[in-house]
């Protein structure tokens, strides 16, 4: 009688264990989901806390890095800007328009701009077109 009871209780225990282990799988999934959510929340909070407050130096740096550099123009200017500048400074010199005060004024402004951008080929090309249109110069 006692042996039968023990055997029954063992069976019940076995069933209980197997039932709980079946349930355990689903519990495990939800536990990992909870851990994942917790990790995400902690990560977001840390990222917010560690985020650097923007200061003047940082802003200066970000502003400088956001601008684009035209390397093609730099390379071209290194070899061709002097040549173009030499042509423009002769053709657009204000002394070539002594009789017409209006043209002289335009030439004066253009000449100043040409001198300012003597190493910028792209800008010199733009000024050349401007000179052709405003001063009727034939290059």
């Amino acid at each position: 009688m006692k042996d039968t009871l023990i055997q029954d209780s063992l069976k019940v225990a076995e069933q209980a264990i197997s039932a709980s282990s079946d349930k355990g799988d689903s519990t495990n999934i939800w536990m990992w989901v909870a851990i994942g959510e917790f990790a995400i929340i902690v990560g977001l909070l840390l990222a917010k806390k560690l985020k650097r407050k923007s200061n003047a130096k940082q802003r200066f740096k970000e502003e400088a890095l956001s601008q684009d550099v035209d390397f093609n123009n730099i390379i071209k200017s290194s070899f061709h800007s002097t040549e173009l500048y030499d042509i423009l400074k002769v053709k657009c010199h204000p002394d070539r328009f002594p009789t017409d005060p209006e043209l002289n004024g335009i030439a004066d402004k253009l000449f100043q701009e040409i001198t300012k951008n003597k190493t910028n080929h792209k800008r010199l090309e733009e000024l050349k077109i401007e000179a052709e249109q405003k001063l009727n110069i034939n290059f």
């Binding site: 400088a64 550099v69 093609n72 070899f79 910028n120």
Partner: protein, 135 residues
């Protein structure tokens, strides 16, 4: 303090990546210009040791020189070197970028000969003075 260190580490990696990207872009443009015949000489940018006395507030600890080498196959004249340097220095956007990425020296060299020219970048851009606590 932890936050500061963490941000400095992030900045270091970001700057390193930006520096490499800038050098790569320059070299790519120079190569394309040379191949297409726009430029008669191949220019190549690389990072060099730099001059320690040219340091400024954005300077890196090491390798603060931006060196451009011109592959002409002959000794470049002083005027040619100065002209290439002036083109770089007159581009305010590029100089500003070089400064904030930690470079403080611009060097121009030929592939022949033993001399070149160098400039300190902070002379060519108005750098605001920032406080010690970076406010």
């Amino acid at each position: 303090m932890f936050s500061n260190t963490w941000n400095n580490i992030l900045d270091w990696f970001r700057d390193r990546s930006d520096r490499s990207r800038l050098v790569r872009s320059f070299n790519e443009s120079a190569r394309n210009s040379f191949v297409s015949g726009v430029a008669p000489t191949l220019l190549k940018a690389k990072i060099s040791k730099g001059e320690s006395s040219y340091k400024h507030q954005f300077s890196n600890w090491l390798n603060t020189g931006f060196r451009i080498q011109a592959f002409t196959g002959r000794q470049l004249s002083r005027d040619e070197l100065i002209h290439i340097g002036k083109v770089i220095l007159n581009d305010e956007t590029l100089v500003r970028k070089l400064v904030v990425l930690g470079w403080d020296t611009l060097e121009i060299h030929g592939d022949e000969g033993t001399y070149g020219c160098r400039w300190q970048l902070k002379d060519h851009i108005p750098l605001p003075k920032f406080n010690q606590d970076n406010q």
